[in-house]
């Protein structure tokens, strides 16, 4: 399975993502400069965290017009897996690949600490190695993660089980005090209708090895590999 990590001017988690795919998963991975035009040969594309274009105007607002983003949209429409982490999530929102928008954290602080997340839907290409309702730990590092969507969109996300992660207490309680940024309904991650585009504010790539303290993020990447394996099997069977 071949991964691509998109590099925008100001990306700063690209090397971490590359490291996890290369060293932890042991799968082929390449950096893709934002000025490139195509994504032929890739199976999963990661938009990493950082401060693309200095977060000027709005987070992700300028990156979403990078030449490569047309290819990312087409790739997603073909069913390719797209994972947006932190700034990558913000770019996916600005690009309209995911619904809603990010506001400044309600605390006005840049929040950089561990959070607990509840896995709300474990039946996606990105979460199938977690248990439904599992409480996991991941680090966050953002100033604009205060998710907003209008009431209709929020209802649709709930109805279609597209809210994938919510901030919670260590006991799994989705409580206001566990919300680090003011996100509606403690939302930390959502996916698109087809489930092949995921955006989340926490950083799974920063917690995918035991040596870093804990590796709760690893199952997200393992889910992608597992899903891909099953998809390949189905294709082989279909071909006879």
């Amino acid at each position: 399975m071949k991964f691509g990590v998109v590099v925008f001017p100001g990306s700063n988690c690209d090397m971490d993502c590359y490291h996890v795919i290369d060293q932890v998963l042991g799968h082929p991975v390449e950096y893709i400069w934002h000025r490139e035009q195509g994504l032929a040969g890739y199976d999963c594309v990661i938009l990493p965290g950082g401060f693309s274009y200095g977060d000027y105007l709005r987070t992700g607002a300028i990156a979403r017009f990078a030449p490569l983003m047309d290819a990312v949209s087409a790739f997603a429409a073909r069913g390719g897996l797209v994972l947006g982490i932190c700034n990558g999530f913000q770019i996916l929102l600005e690009a309209g690949l995911l619904p809603g928008a990010m506001r400044r954290n309600d605390s006005l602080q840049f929040r950089c600490h561990d959070v607990y997340l509840r896995v709300e839907n474990a039946n996606t290409p990105f979460t199938n190695r977690y248990r439904p309702g599992q409480v996991i730990r991941m680090p966050i590092a953002h100033g604009e993660g205060n998710y907003y969507a209008d009431p209709e969109t929020l209802a649709e996300l709930n109805r279609e089980h597209r809210i994938i992660f919510r901030y919670c207490t260590g006991d799994g309680d989705v409580a206001p005090e566990a919300n680090p940024n003011g996100s509606l309904e403690n939302i930390a991650g959502i996916c698109n209708k087809d489930g092949n585009v995921l955006g989340l504010m926490p950083h799974p790539e920063r917690c995918s090895e035991e040596i870093l303290g804990y590796d709760d993020g690893k199952a997200l990447f393992m889910s992608v590999l597992h899903w891909w394996g099953l998809k390949r099997e189905r294709e082989v069977v279909a071909r006879g």
């Binding site: 709005r58 017009f65 929102l93 809603g100 928008a101 506001r103 006005l108 907003y148």
Partner: protein, 84 residues
Amino acid sequence: MFQARIYVTLKTGILDPQGKAVKGALATLGYGKVEDVRVGKYLVLTLDYPDRFLAEKDVKEMCDRLLANPVIEDYTFELQEVAK
């Protein structure tokens, strides 16, 4: 030549944490009668357009596509003819 002055603000009803903090600071300074503060963005564009109609059409398009995020923000703008 035209100059467009664009004001981008959070939509009514969208929480504005910055505005809230500024309001709190003003209250600390003794301006307790400030009922509400909304923080926005102000952009000034200088446009080499011969025609007001075209300038207006394009500025609106720029706001819709990039300068404002329609999910959470509103915008208004004024267009003024300026000397080249």
